[in-house]
Symmetry: C2
DNA sequence: CTACAGTCTGTATTGACTACAGACTCAAGA
DNA sequence: TCTTGAGTCTGTAGTCAATACAGACTGTAG
């Protein structure tokens, strides 16, 4: 009776398809310990279920938002421990938000320099080039 | 008379100091061929001069602006060949500018999601957390 | 029985560095 | 002259976050 209400079992390719994750990335996440090692068939095939789908989606979404693996590991510890407080997670999110904003500021500075330099270009065939001069000076 | 007006000779650490570049990065740039292999003393020490300072500054500035090494290699070929046209460089710069703008757009999207999610947090000690829910759902 | 697709493992590659070990050189001080 | 410490040399390994591949095994359909 134990598998009367059977859980849907997935192999690796199916998990990859359902999460839109690269096949090999799943194994990689298992190796670095952010995905749990799933049970195996007698012949060694990994067997996943819905809990793995949720876990992987969590990781992928956090990666999309630019969290580093180590930051995600921290978030997962909070989730797994069941001891997380909203305050802790909020603090980590805000730290990360500050990082993202700093990156945006960097890129905007780069954008300004590139745009200003490119706009000086005549587009002529002459070898004098304001971009190269800006880089060389 | 050949070294009557002697060029200022620098060793690696001095070049690093003057360009604010990591010591090992200089050797790396030589290895991958964006910096020329400098002459050596009889005992094998690299000997740099002002031309190396200029070259390295060019590379570092381009890196700061987010050009990839391969893009820089392309810019350097234009410089070295003496055949560069302003139009070519302008085109490459504008391609790169488009990449930078795409990255900014990505990060701004991420920023919006993070900010919106974090602002829902109560900061309370309760384990329900809108950030984790947003990631898990 | 034989294809063929899927999975398994470990390892190599990417980009742009950075760090380290172990040997060598150089200049200054005792 | 000897020693000490700083600088340099080489090759190699590690970083991050995957991605790719080779070679062996398994599972299934015809």
């Amino acid at each position: 009776m134990s598998d009367h209400v059977s859980v849907k079992r997935l192999q690796r390719a199916e998990l990859a398809r359902r999460t839109n994750c690269n096949l090999e990335t799943i194994r990689y996440y298992e190796k670095i310990g952010v995905m749990p090692a799933p049970p195996r068939t007698t012949t060694g095939y990994r067997v996943y279920d819905e809990s793995h789908v949720r876990r992987l989606r969590f990781i992928l979404r956090a990666r999309e938002l630019g969290f580093a693996i180590e930051e995600i590991r921290g978030l997962l510890r909070l989730v797994d421990g069941g001891t997380q407080t909203c305050a802790e997670v909020k603090a980590r999110t805000e730290d990360h938000l500050a990082d993202v904003r700093a990156k945006i500021a960097d890129l905007r500075r780069i954008e300004r320099v590139l745009a200003a330099t490119a706009s000086k270009c005549t587009g002529d065939e002459i070898p004098e080039c304001p971009v190269l001069e800006a880089l060389a000076s």
